[in-house]
C-alpha cells in the first residue's frame, strides 16, 4: 500500500483524533486562543507580547500548578488567595525587619506550607470536604491579616524597595525573572507528578481513593502533602507578589487567585473529578486565563465582565469533560 496522504487520513480514525484531542486538548485550545488574539490584534504573536504574557501569568500560574496537583488528587483549595494575602502581608514585615530577601523567601515558603498543611490536616483527619475546609480558612486567613494591618497596606521600606522590586522586574538574557521562575517550578512539579512514586500516588488517590488505600498507599499523607505543596507554592507566589507590588493591601491582595487557578486547571484539560490531567496543561491553562483578559481588552469588552467569562469557561470545560467521559 502506498503511503499517500489519503491513506494516512484513512488510518487517522475519528476515534484517534478524538483521543489525541482529549489528551492534548489544552494545546488545541491554546492555539485556538492564540489565533483569536492574533485576529483581533495582528501584532499579538510577538516575542515581547508572549514574554509579557508569561510574566503576567506567572504569579497566579505558580498557584495553578499546586491547584492542578490538588485537583488531580480529587481535592480543591479555595483559600490560596487568602494564603497569599496573609503570607505576603507578614512577609513584608519580615523583609522590613531583616532586610534579607533569602530569609524572607524562606519565611514565605515555610509559612505558606504551614497554612496549606492546616487545610490538609483538617481534610484528612477531620474528614471534612476540602471545599468546606478551605472555604472556612479562606475567610479565616484573610481576616487575620486584615486585623493585623488594621485594614491598611503593608509597605516595603523605601531603602529596601529599589533593589527588592528588581526581583520581579528584572530579567536574565531578556527573559523576565518571573517567567523563568514560573517555568522552572512548572518543570519541577511536572517531573514530580509524572516520574515519581509520589506523583503516581496522587493520581491514584484522585482516581479511586478506596483502591489506592487497599493498594497500601497512605491516602491521608498524600492529601496533606498536596495541600502543603500548594501552600508552599502560594508562599513563593506571595514573595513574588511582594516584589511586584511592593505594597500589600490586606483586604485585596490575592483576591480571586483561586478562581484564576481553578479556571487555568480546568482549561488545562485536567479532569475536575480527579485522577487525570497533566501539569503542562495547567501551565498552558494559566497562560490562557491571562490571554483571555488580554483578548477581552483588545476586543473592547468591559473588564468588569472578566469574571463572567472565566465563570462560563469553567462550566463549559467541565461540561465538555463530562461529555468525553460519557463517550
Amino acid at each position: 500500500m502506498q503511503k499517500t496522504p489519503s491513506n494516512l487520513l484513512k488510518n487517522l480514525t475519528w476515534e484517534k483524533v478524538w483521543g489525541l484531542f482529549g489528551k492534548y486538548s489544552y494545546v488545541v485550545s491554546f492555539l485556538g486562543l492564540l489565533l483569536i488574539a492574533t485576529l483581533i490584534n495582528p501584532l499579538y504573536f510577538s516575542y515581547a507580547n508572549l514574554s509579557t504574557l508569561l510574566l503576567q501569568a506567572s504569579i497566579k500560574g505558580i498557584i495553578a500548578l499546586g491547584m492542578a496537583m490538588l485537583i488531580i488528587c480529587g481535592m480543591i483549595d479555595l483559600s490560596v488567595g487568602s494564603i497569599v494575602a496573609l503570607v505576603a502581608g507578614l512577609g513584608v514585615v519580615v523583609l522590613n525587619y531583616t532586610g534579607n530577601p533569602w530569609l524572607t523567601l524562606l519565611f514565605c515558603m515555610a509559612f505558606g506550607a504551614l497554612l496549606g498543611s492546616i487545610n490538609g490536616l483538617l481534610v484528612a483527619f477531620g474528614r471534612i470536604a476540602p471545599f468546606i475546609v478551605t472555604l472556612a480558612t479562606m475567610s479565616a486567613y484573610r481576616s487575620i491579616i486584615v486585623q493585623i494591618g488594621q485594614g491598611g497596606p503593608f509597605n516595603v521600606d523605601s531603602e529596601i524597595l529599589p533593589w527588592f522590586r528588581m526581583i520581579a522586574a528584572g530579567n536574565v538574557w531578556g527573559i523576565p525573572n518571573l517567567a523563568l521562575i514560573f517555568i522552572v517550578i512548572m518543570i519541577i512539579v511536572g517531573i514530580v507528578m509524572s516520574r515519581t512514586k509520589f506523583g503516581r500516588y496522587v493520581y491514584a488517590v484522585g482516581s479511586n481513593e478506596q483502591a489506592a488505600r487497599l493498594a497500601g498507599i497512605n491516602v491521608n499523607m498524600i492529601k496533606i502533602m498536596c495541600f502543603t505543596i500548594t501552600g508552599l507554592l502560594a508562599g513563593i507566589s506571595s514573595f513574588l507578589l511582594m516584589s511586584r507590588l511592593t505594597s500589600i493591601t490586606a483586604p485585596n491582595a490575592g483576591t480571586q487567585f483561586e478562581l484564576d487557578a481553578i479556571a487555568g486547571v480546568a482549561i488545562g484539560g485536567i479532569a475536575m473529578t480527579g485522577g487525570r490531567g497533566m501539569i503542562a496543561g495547567s501551565f498552558m491553562g494559566a497562560l490562557m486565563v491571562q490571554m483571555i483578559e488580554g483578548v477581552l481588552i483588545a476586543a473592547r469588552i468591559p473588564p468588569f465582565l472578566n469574571g463572567l467569562v472565566k465563570g462560563i469557561i469553567i462550566i463549559f470545560t467541565v461540561l465538555l469533560q463530562r461529555r468525553k467521559a460519557n463517550n
Binding site: K197, G206, L214
Partner: protein
C-alpha cells in the same frame, strides 16, 4: 400473565452475557430461575424489567410483542422487581418508601398522607408484618427492610413479581411467612419468578425451573421430575474435576494464626490457623461479617480485639503497608470500587502496589515497569492491546488478572482473595482457579473468601463457614457438600432445626 422471552442475547462489549436464551412463565406459576453467579440470571431479569435493552431477541407478554421495554413500561405492565440489594431511602418513613415515586395526592395536589398510611397498613397486615407505616426505615432491621421491599411490590397491581434472592436476609420464620404470601399470590393468579441459590427452598416453593449456565439456556421443566443432585449437575454442567491438590489434608507448618479477632458489630472471636501451601476458604451468607473480616486481616479496618501472627510475629493491623511488608497480599472484592484505578493505564495499575512495598528509587523507570508487566503477562495470561491504554478498556476477567498480578509482583507468602472471580467470565475464572493451585503448590498460602460453593469445592483444602459474625463450622474437603455448607451458613445447627426441616417448612 403469560411471559415469553425468545432468543434473548446480550453483549457487553466482547462479553456475551446471554446467548439466545428462552424463558417462559405461565399464569399463576412460581418459577425457579437457577444458575451460578454470572450465569446471566440478573441480566435476563434486568432485560425483563426494562433496565437493560437486549442485543437480540423478543419479549412477548400474553402473546403480544413488547418492543423497546423500559422500566416504566415494564412497571405499567404489572411486572415488579424485588431487588436483592435494598433500595429504600433510610431517612423516609415506611409508607413514604412504599409510595416513593407513585405518591397519592388529593384534589389540591397535596400529598394524601392519610390514604397512603391506610393502604400501607393494609398491605403490611396482609403479609403479616408488624411494622408501623409511620416508622422511619433507618430504625428497621435488615430483614424487615427486605419485607418492605416485598410489600412495595404488592401495593400496586402486579401480575408478575421477580424476587431476586429474597430470603438471604430473612430468618426461617420470616421465610415461612414469605412462602405463605407467595402461595396466596399464586392463588390470585399472579406469577412469580423466584431466584435463589438454596436448593431446599427452590424445591419447596417452585413448580417449574429454568436453568442457565454461562449465559446459555440449559433446561426447563418441573421440579417434581428432578432431585437436588440432578439440579446441581445441570447447574454446574461440567462434572467437577477432581482436584487432587484440594483433597489433601495439609499438615505443613502453621504460617498464620488468628486469635480472638473481633470487630464490633461485624464479627466476634475469630480463631483459625493457616498452613503453608494451604488453600483455606471462608464462606457464609450475606451479613455474616466475612467481608469485614477480610479487610481486618489486611489492616484495612479497625480491629477491636484479638491478634494475627505471621511466623509467630504479631502483625500490626493498623497499617496496610506493614501488613504488605509482612508478606500478605490481598485482592479485594468489588473490583470496580476497590481495585481498579480507572484513570490509570494497564501498566500503572499493575505497578502500584509494588511501588508501595518494594520500590526504593526516587524516579520511576518505565523500562522496569514494562519488564514487570511482561513477566506477569506470562503467568496470568493477561490479554491486552496497548499497555498504555486505560485499564477500563479491558474485559472484566483481564482486569482482574492485572489486579492479581499487582499482588503476585510482591511475592507475598499469604494471599487473601476476597471474592476474586466476581463478575468475570468462566474462562477467566478457571484461569484464576489454576493460579490459586499453582500458588499453593509453590508453598504459598491462600485464604479465599467466596460465596460460590463450586468455587470453594474446586480450590479449597478446608473451609470455614461463618454465621452471624462467628465461625460456625470447619469443614475439610471430604465434608464439603452444598447442603452441608448451607446448613451451617444458615445457622440451622444453632436453631435446633436441621436442614430437612427447612425443606418441610411447607
Amino acid at each position: 400473565m403469560i411471559l415469553e422471552m425468545k432468543n434473548i442475547s446480550k453483549y457487553f462489549g466482547p462479553v456475551k452475557a446471554l446467548d439466545e436464551v428462552n424463558f417462559t412463565v405461565s399464569e399463576a406459576e412460581i418459577h425457579g430461575l437457577l444458575g451460578e453467579n454470572g450465569a446471566g440470571k440478573s441480566t435476563l431479569m434486568n432485560i425483563l424489567g426494562g433496565a437493560l435493552a437486549p442485543s437480540e431477541g423478543q419479549i412477548f407478554i400474553d402473546g403480544q410483542l413488547i418492543e423497546d421495554m423500559t422500566i416504566h413500561k415494564s412497571n405499567a405492565l404489572g411486572i415488579k422487581f424485588i431487588h436483592q440489594e435494598l433500595n429504600l431511602v433510610n431517612d423516609l418513613m415506611v409508607y413514604e418508601n412504599l409510595f416513593l415515586g407513585q405518591e397519592l395526592t388529593n384534589r389540591a395536589g397535596m400529598l394524601d398522607r392519610k390514604t397512603m398510611v391506610l393502604r400501607s397498613k393494609n398491605v403490611l397486615e396482609r403479609i403479616k408484618v408488624d411494622i408501623d407505616p409511620e416508622e422511619l426505615v433507618s430504625t428497621l432491621e435488615p430483614s424487615r427492610k427486605q419485607l418492605i421491599e416485598i410489600a412495595r411490590a404488592l401495593l400496586f397491581d402486579s401480575k408478575l413479581i421477580i424476587m431476586d434472592e429474597p430470603t438471604t436476609a430473612l430468618t426461617n420464620k420470616e421465610i415461612e411467612i414469605l412462602f405463605e404470601i407467595m402461595r396466596s399470590l399464586k392463588s390470585h393468579g399472579l406469577s412469580i419468578i423466584f431466584i435463589s441459590h438454596k436448593m431446599p427452598e427452590l424445591f419447596a416453593i417452585c413448580e417449574k425451573y429454568t436453568i442457565l449456565r454461562d449465559g446459555k439456556f440449559i433446561d426447563t421443566g418441573n421440579f417434581k421430575d428432578i432431585d437436588e443432585q440432578k439440579a446441581t449437575n445441570l447447574l454446574v454442567g461440567r462434572s467437577i474435576v477432581d482436584n487432587q491438590q484440594a483433597k489433601l489434608k495439609v499438615t505443613t507448618p502453621v504460617v498464620m494464626k488468628v486469635s480472638g479477632l473481633t470487630s464490633k458489630g461485624f464479627f466476634e472471636d475469630i480463631n483459625f490457623e493457616l498452613r503453608e501451601g494451604e488453600v483455606l476458604a471462608i464462606t457464609g451468607l450475606h451479613g455474616d461479617g466475612r467481608g469485614e473480616l477480610s479487610e481486618c486481616l489486611f489492616g484495612a479496618r479497625r480491629v477491636d480485639a484479638g491478634t494475627v501472627t505471621v511466623h509467630d510475629k504479631r502483625l500490626n493491623l493498623g497499617n496496610i503497608r506493614d501488613v504488605m511488608r509482612a508478606g500478605i497480599g490481598m485482592v479485594p472484592r468489588n473490583r470496580k470500587e476497590r481495585s481498579i484505578i480507572k484513570d490509570m493505564s494497564i501498566l500503572n495499575n499493575l505497578s502500584i502496589a509494588f511501588f508501595v512495598a518494594k520500590h526504593n528509587k526516587f524516579f520511576i523507570d518505565k523500562k522496569e515497569e514494562v519488564e514487570r508487566f511482561n513477566r506477569n503477562q506470562k503467568i496470568t495470561d493477561i490479554r491486552a492491546g496497548n499497555i498504555d491504554d486505560d485499564i477500563t478498556s479491558m474485559s472484566g476477567g483481564n482486569q482482574q488478572k492485572v489486579i492479581v498480578s499487582r499482588w503476585l509482583e510482591l511475592d507475598s507468602n499469604i494471599y487473601i482473595l476476597d471474592n476474586p472471580t466476581q463478575g468475570i467470565d468462566v474462562g477467566a475464572k478457571f484461569e484464576i482457579y489454576k493460579l490459586i493451585g499453582e500458588l499453593a503448590s509453590r508453598g504459598k498460602s491462600v485464604i479465599i473468601f467466596s460465596s460460590e460453593f463450586m468455587e470453594i469445592y474446586k480450590v479449597a483444602n478446608r473451609c470455614l463457614v461463618m454465621y452471624e459474625g462467628r465461625v460456625n463450622a470447619e469443614l475439610f474437603h471430604e465434608q464439603l457438600t452444598e447442603l452441608n455448607v448451607m446448613y451451617y451458613a444458615t445457622g440451622s445447627n444453632k436453631e435446633g432445626i436441621n436442614a430437612k426441616n427447612t425443606k418441610q417448612l411447607t
